[in-house]
């Protein structure tokens, strides 16, 4: 499956849900599969380029960053920060399950160790692990429809996703809600291994992006600090752009 860079985050959240698995009946299973495939189709593309703004609010600080990002296939991703000036040029490269960060201030490229994986990415509520893991989630969950009908005035379908026994996944359960008509995601709940809600991601501001209707805003809210959040706003998105493999190399990290 090909994924899009900007929806990178959504993808690795959603993809676990986007893959077909059993339901009670053969017909049910087929339908789940079809629905999830459709949602997945929303993100399909061989490559992408996007410009996003990330706004982080915590108890101690509030800041905004603007960045551009490229993706090719599901293994290669590159982000580069455009604003603020203080961090302009800082880039993160994901290539084959390794993450590298380039820091223009010290002109150094650092490879992130496994110990740093659960650390926050760029001060947001997402972890470095979130960036790496997305590729594998699709094989790692079993899904079924847990609710279908009207909720909060919207017709929705809700999926419950349980990680497979051998999956190397940090979550205990995911609950994904999509709109019944357009199959656009609305909200996704992440539960830890003790089935306690750990974080919530909301999708909003449906707009025409890259030729299709998609949510332009993703808001990540940690369960233990609901006044904090990380919000991604997609400003531009282009799909299936021509991208060279050399863009996703350590040397290209350094270009400002």
């Amino acid at each position: 499956m090909f994924k899009l860079l900007p929806y990178y985050f959504s993808l690795f959240f959603l993809l676990p849900g986007l893959f077909p698995v059993h339901a009670e009946t053969a017909q049910g299973a087929d339908r789940v599969k079809a629905l999830l495939n459709e949602v997945d189709d929303l993100w399909r593309g061989q490559s992408s380029y996007a410009v996003t703004t990330m706004h982080v609010k915590t108890d101690h600080y509030e800041r905004t960053m603007k960045m551009e990002g490229w993706s090719k296939g599901k293994e290669k991703t590159l982000f580069r920060i455009m604003q603020p000036l203080r961090e302009k040029g800082t880039s993160t490269l994901k290539s084959d399950n390794h993450i590298y960060t380039y820091l223009p201030k010290t002109d150094r490229t650092i490879k992130l160790t496994s110990g740093m994986m659960m650390g926050s990415w760029m001060g947001s509520h997402l972890t470095n692990d979130d960036l790496v893991k997305e590729a594998r989630l699709e094989e790692d969950y079993t899904a079924e429809i847990s609710f279908e009908g009207v909720r909060d005035g919207q017709k929705i379908i809700e999926f419950t996703l349980i990680p497979k026994l051998d999956a190397a996944v940090v979550w205990g359960k995911l609950a994904l809600t999509i709109l019944a008509d357009s199959h656009i995601p609305v909200v996704e709940y992440y539960y830890d291994e003790d089935m306690v809600l750990a974080r919530t991601i909301r999708f909003s501001d449906i707009q025409l992006l890259g030729g299709r209707e998609r949510p332009a805003v993703l808001t990540v809210v940690p369960a233990d600090k609901p006044e904090e959040y990380t919000r991604f706003v997609y400003e531009t998105l282009s799909l299936n752009v021509e991208l060279k493999d050399s863009l996703f190399s350590l040397s290209s990290l350094k270009k400002r």
Binding site: V56, H60, E62, R108, I110, M116, G123
Partner: protein, 407 residues
């Protein structure tokens, strides 16, 4: 009748037996003095390691900081507090901590940045003298850091190499700067060895944008003979509930327990050793008594009281024990003093020994304390005294007529 002269003559009568007994006691006592000195040396050395290298006498934090070291858990007015402590029977200093990633050319590792006050930290701890290679920090070097021994191996770096730090500032930005290794420390504690990077408070404040406050205040009593628990309680009362005050015994309970039991360990060792000695003494005295039953019978017949005979036996024992103790004091002190100055080199067993998070010097130094000398010698008297109870009773109950006929 002069019992002492009589005892002396009796001891001398069977010189070889007396000598063997005396030497056995002397040997055991010497060994116990040396052992006690080593245990005391270990205890004192450990306390020195823990307290004067890193922990200090008393530490102050915000409640909850030690379990969850959040950079935002700062002690307000740390500088005022510290000035107050200095005016009041303590040496005091501020410390700041931050966590992040340190990268060298070859690899990277999670580290704990440890900000220290260059002026006051040396008054509280001796860490500035604990450098293995290189030098300690200096105020005019804004790029220099001192790192732990194992960290230098993990990152595969040495003196003069460059390290790049990546972390987060207090206002959410990326903290990123490069540093140069100025010194590498000897073993201190597990955390410091594996992840410790020392820099000045000024440097750390700038790196992570924390202009005020401190995470930890460390105090050392100017007069260390006072009651630490009492002082801790007094400080706690005067500072109130908003700050957590703990002394090193509370902060490192395992080490504290270990030190408390060191005395018990010496005692147990002594009991076992001395039981062996006691059997030697008992055997010798019993033989000597049995040989002289005829003689004792005659003495009793001419009017010597049982009590006097018991005293005689004890006098004989005491003479030998005194001699043994004299020898043991000389030999034991000499050996212990040697081990105090030069130590026992354990490095063939382990390059560095780590216990309960503390690093120990592989050279084990003894400490010739009054306790190390007195305990074994006094105990020897007690054990010998108990050992001859049976022979003494035997002598006391002798019936003169039977004894005279005994042969």
């Amino acid at each position: 009748m002069n019992i002492f002269t009589l005892a002396l003559r009796n001891v001398y009568r069977n010189r070889h037996r007396s000598l063997v007994t005396t030497l056995a006691m002397a040997f055991a006592c010497t060994m116990m003095i040396v052992f006690a000195a080593l245990m005391d040396g270990f205890a004192i050395g450990s306390e020195r390691n823990v307290v004067s290298m890193n922990t200090g006498d008393i530490q102050i934090h915000l409640p909850g900081y030690r379990d969850d070291p959040d950079i935002y858990s700062l002690i307000d007015n740390a500088d005022k507090l510290v000035a107050q402590f200095r005016a009041d029977a303590f040496y005091a200093t501020e410390r700041l901590f931050a966590f992040g990633l340190m990268a060298s050319d070859q690899s990277s590792s999670g580290v704990q940045l440890r900000g220290v006050d260059l002026d006051y930290e040396p008054t509280v701890t001796d860490i500035d003298q604990h450098i293995m290679t290189g030098e300690w920090l200096s105020a005019d070097d804004q790029q220099g850091v001192v790192i732990g021994k194992k960290l230098s191996k993990l990152l595969d770096v040495g003196l003069g190499d460059e390290l790049v730090f990546v972390g987060q500032t207090a206002d959410g930005y990326m903290a990123n700067d490069s540093f140069q290794i100025k010194g590498i420390l000897k073993s201190v504690s597990a955390t410091i060895d594996n992840a410790g990077v020392f820099m000045s408070n000024a440097m750390l404040r700038e790196l992570i944008t924390l202009p005020e406050g401190a995470h930890e205040l460390v105090l050392m009593r100017t007069d260390r003979t006072g009651d630490l628990s009492l002082m801790t309680e007094q400080l706690k009362t005067s500072l109130g509930e908003d700050l957590e005050v703990m002394n090193w015994q509370q902060l490192m309970p395992i080490i504290n327990r270990f030190l408390e039991t060191a005395h018990i360990q010496t005692l147990i060792m002594m009991i076992f050793t001395y039981i062996a000695v006691a059997s030697v003494v008992l055997n010798a005295m019993l033989m000597s008594v049995f040989e002289r039953i005829h003689e004792f019978g005659i003495m009793k017949a001419i009017g010597v009281k049982p009590k006097q005979l018991v005293v005689l036996i004890y006098a004989e024992m005491l003479i030998q024990t005194f001699l043994a103790v004299l020898i043991a004091l000389l030999a034991g002190s000499a050996l212990s003093w040697y081990l105090q100055e030069h130590g026992l080199d354990m490095s063939s067993l382990a390059d560095e020994i780590s216990f309960a998070g503390i690093a120990f010097d592989p050279i084990w130094h003894a400490e010739l304390t009054a306790n190390a000398v007195l305990m074994p010698t006094l105990f020897l008297f007690v054990i010998a005294g108990i050992a001859v109870i049976y022979p003494a009773i035997k002598v006391a109950v002798i019936q003169p007529v039977d004894a005279i006929h005994h042969q």
